[in-house]
Amino acid sequence: MDLLLTSEQEQIVEAIAAVLGDELPLTGGHPRRMTRSLWQLASDLGWIGLGLPMSVGGMQASTVEEALLFHKIGYHCGPMELLFSVIAAHAAKDSNPALCERLVKGEARAGYLIGTSLNPPWLALAMANAEVAVRLDANDQMILHGAVPLTSHEQICGLDPAVDTMSIDALPQILCVAPANVTSRGLLLVAAMEAGLARLALDLACEHAKVREQFGKAIGSFQAVRHACADMAVRSEAVDSQLAFAAASLAKESDSAFYEVRALKCLSIDAAYRNVRSAIQIFGAIGVTDEHVMHLLLKRTHLLDALFGNRSHQLDRLLAYPFPDS
C-alpha cells in the first residue's frame, strides 16, 4: 500500500495551488466568486476534464488527482461552479458526449438543485449562467437536468454569498440518470472540499494564534487555545488520510469504495464544522464579522453539508453497508 503522492501528483498540486493563490487570495471577507479569468484557466489547465477520458477532451487522470484538485479548491474557499461542472460532465459522459465535451471546455456550465422535501420550492445553486444542473434523487442517484426556465424562478439571498441562489417551483427537464459511481464521485469531491476547508481553518487559526497577543504573549501559548489547535490538526489529519484511502478505493473501483466514500463524507463534514467553529472562537469577535474570511468558511461549510446528502443522510446510509474487510 502507498498513500503518498507521486512526484507527478505533487507537481499537479503545486500548480493548482499557485493558480488559486493568484486568483483567489485569502484576504478580507469578500466572497470569492467565479471569475472569467479563473474559468478560462480552469478549462485551459484541464481541471474540469481531469478525470475524464481523452475522447471527450479530458486528461484521463484518476479520482485521486480530482480529489487533490478539490482539496485545494476547498482550501481556497474557491467557487462551487467547478464541482458542479465536473459532476455534470461525468453524468453526461456516456449518454451525451457532446454536452460532456462542452462542459470540459467550459463552454457549458452546471449548477446544482437541492430539495429534501418532495414538494416545491427547491433551491437552485449557481444556475444563473448554467445550462444544466445536477440533483441527487431520493434513491441517491445523480440526475442531470436542463436549464431552469427563466419564468419559473425567484432570485433569493443565499447564506453563502459566493453562490448565486434561486428558488424554483418546478424541476427542469431530466436529461439523464447518471451511472451509480457518479454519486460516489460527487461525495468524494465535495468531501475533498470539506477536508481542504477544515485544513484552511486550522492553518488560519494557528497563524492567528502565533501573532495575536493578549496578556502580554501570543494567545497560542495558552493551553485553551493551543489544545483547540491540536484538536483541529487531529481532525484534519484523520480526514486527509480517509480522503487518500477513499480516493484510491474509488480509482480502482474496489467493492468497498461506496462505504469508504460515505465514511469520508461523515468525517469531513464533521471536521469542517468543528474546525471552523473552533477557529472562529480563536479569532474572537473579528471572526463573527463579515469583514473577515472566517464567515465565508462557516457559510461554505453549511453549503457543502447540504450537497449530495447531508450528514444525517450519510450516517443513515452508512449503516446499510457491511464493514469492509481489511
Binding site: I114, A285, G287, V288, D290, L298, H302, N310
Partner: protein, 393 residues
C-alpha cells in the same frame, strides 16, 4: 427547601394579574400600541411598584424592598401577556446599576431617569483592538486638562454605538500605574467633533456593533464614575450584570419552545420530524439541559432572596447557556434542512429565520467574556484554583 410559593407571594401574583388586566388589556394585545401608550404603561407599572424596583423614586424608579421572588413573579406575569418590561439596553442593564453602586448623587440625578425612560441610549466602550479577553490592556487615554478630560483612542465591538448618544467607557488615566490600577470609568457624550463611528457588520448581516475613533474628545471632569484608577473594579459591577443577563434561562426556555414547535411542524421522509427517534432523543436532552438551568436560576434566586453567598452557579450561567444555544442551533439546522442555506432577510419565508440563531450562537460564545475566559473565572473565582500565569479573568 420548599417548592411552593408562600401565601403572600401568591397574593402578590394575583395583584400583578389584576394590574395587567386593567392596564394592559389582553384584547388589544396584538394591536399596534404607540410609543406613547407604552411609555404610559411603564409609568403606571412604576407607580404600582413593578418596574425598576431597585431604583429609588427620586431617580424615577419604584423603590421597592429587595424581593427576588416577587421580581421573578413580575417577570413571569408580564412575559405571559407580553407587557412591556423595563427598557432594554446597556443603559438600564449595566450603567444604571453601576451608577447606583459607584456614582455620585449628581450623576444619578442627571442620568438615571432619562436612561430608564429610554431617552438616553448608551454604548458600552470597553474592548479595543489590542484589548479583548485581556481587557485591562486597554490603551485609550484620558488626560485631565482644566475642568475636562481629553480622550484619545479607539474602541471596538462597541455594542449599540450606532444608536447611542452616550458611551460609558474604560480609559487609561494613570499611565504609570500597574495596568489594572490605571483605568478609569468615564461617561462620554458621543455627539461632538472628534467622535467617528463605523458600523461593523456581523456574519448574519446585523449591525449591533461598531468601532469608535476618539480624537481629542472632551468630557467634563465630574463625568468620572468612581475615583481615578478605580475603573476596573467599577466595571466589574457592570460586567457582572452583563453576564447574568446572558445567562438568563427564560430566554432559552422560549427558544426551546420554538424548537419543539419546529420539530412538530417539520416533515422528514413523510413523517413528522418529532417522531424520528434521533430528533426525539436530542430534543429530550436539550429540554433536560434547559430545565436544569431553570432550576439552577431558581436556586440562585433562593440564595439571593435570603442574602446568602451566591456561590459557584452564577459564574456558570454564561457557559451553560452558550452550550444550550449551540445545541438548539444544531438541531434547528438539522430540522430546517435546505432552508438553512438562505440568509434571513426582508423576504423572509419561514424556517430560515433560525439561521440567525445557527450562525449567531457562535458570537454568543465570544461576547461578554469568551467561553475560555468564563472557564478561567470558574476555575479561579469559583474553585479557588491558582491563577494561570499571565491569564486574567
Amino acid at each position: 427547601m420548599d417548592l411552593n410559593i408562600n401565601e403572600s407571594d401568591i397574593g402578590f401574583r394575583d395583584e400583578v394579574r389584576a394590574f395587567l388586566a386593567s392596564c394592559w388589556p389582553k384584547a388589544d394585545k396584538q394591536r399596534n400600541r404607540s410609543q406613547k401608550d407604552i411609555a404610559l404603561f411603564r409609568q403606571r407599572a412604576i407607580e404600582a411598584g413593578y418596574l425598576y424596583r431597585s431604583i429609588p423614586r427620586r431617580y424615577g424608579g419604584s423603590e421597592q424592598a429587595y424581593n427576588i421572588i416577587r421580581a421573578e413573579i413580575i417577570r413571569e406575569e408580564f412575559g405571559r401577556v407580553r407587557a412591556p418590561m423595563e427598557v432594554s439596553g446597556n443603559g438600564t442593564s449595566m450603567l444604571v446599576p453601576t451608577l447606583l453602586d459607584c456614582g455620585t448623587e449628581w450623576q444619578r440625578e442627571q442620568f438615571i431617569r432619562p436612561t430608564i425612560s429610554g431617552e438616553y441610549v448608551w454604548a458600552q466602550g470597553y474592548s479595543e483592538p489590542g484589548a479583548g479577553s485581556d481587557l485591562a490592556a486597554l490603551k485609550t487615554s484620558a488626560v485631565l486638562t482644566g475642568d475636562q478630560w481629553v480622550i484619545n483612542g479607539h474602541k471596538i465591538w462597541t455594542t449599540d454605538v450606532l444608536k447611542a448618544q452616550f458611551m460609558f467607557a474604560l480609559v487609561r488615566t494613570e499611565p504609570d500605574a500597574p495596568k489594572h490600577k490605571g483605568i478609569s470609568y468615564l461617561l462620554i457624550d458621543l455627539r461632538q467633533p472628534g467622535v467617528t463611528v463605523r458600523p461593523l457588520k456581523q456574519l448574519h448581516g446585523g449591525e449591533e456593533f461598531g468601532e469608535v475613533f476618539l480624537e481629542n474628545v472632551k468630557t467634563p471632569a465630574d463625568w468620572i464614575v468612581g475615583n481615578r484608577g478605580e475603573g476596573w473594579s467599577v466595571s466589574k459591577t457592570t460586567l457582572k450584570h452583563e453576564r447574568s443577563s446572558i445567562g438568563n434561562a427564560k430566554s432559552y426556555m422560549a427558544m426551546y419552545a420554538r424548537l419543539y414547535e419546529l420539530a412538530a411542524g417539520t416533515t422528514r421522509s413523510g413523517l413528522p420530524a418529532i417522531q424520528d427517534p434521533v430528533i426525539r432523543v436530542e430534543l429530550a436532552r436539550i429540554e433536560a439541559l434547559v430545565l436544569s438551568q431553570q432550576y439552577s436560576s431558581y436556586r440562585q434566586f433562593s440564595r439571593a432572596a435570603v442574602g446568602k453567598d451566591p456561590g459557584l452557579s452564577p459564574l456558570l450561567n454564561k457557559l451553560v447557556c452558550t452550550g444550550i444555544g449551540h445545541r438548539i442551533a444544531a438541531l434547528a439546522q438539522e430540522l430546517i434542512a435546505e432552508s438553512g442555506l438562505l440568509l434571513p432577510s426582508a423576504q423572509v419565508r419561514g424556517a430560515e429565520k433560525w439561521v440567525n440563531q445557527i450562525v449567531g450562537s457562535l458570537g454568543v460564545a465570544i461576547a461578554g467574556g469568551s467561553s475560555n475566559i468564563q472557564r478561567n473565572i470558574i476555575a479561579e473565582r469559583g474553585l479557588d484554583l491558582p491563577r494561570a500565569q499571565g491569564e486574567g479573568a
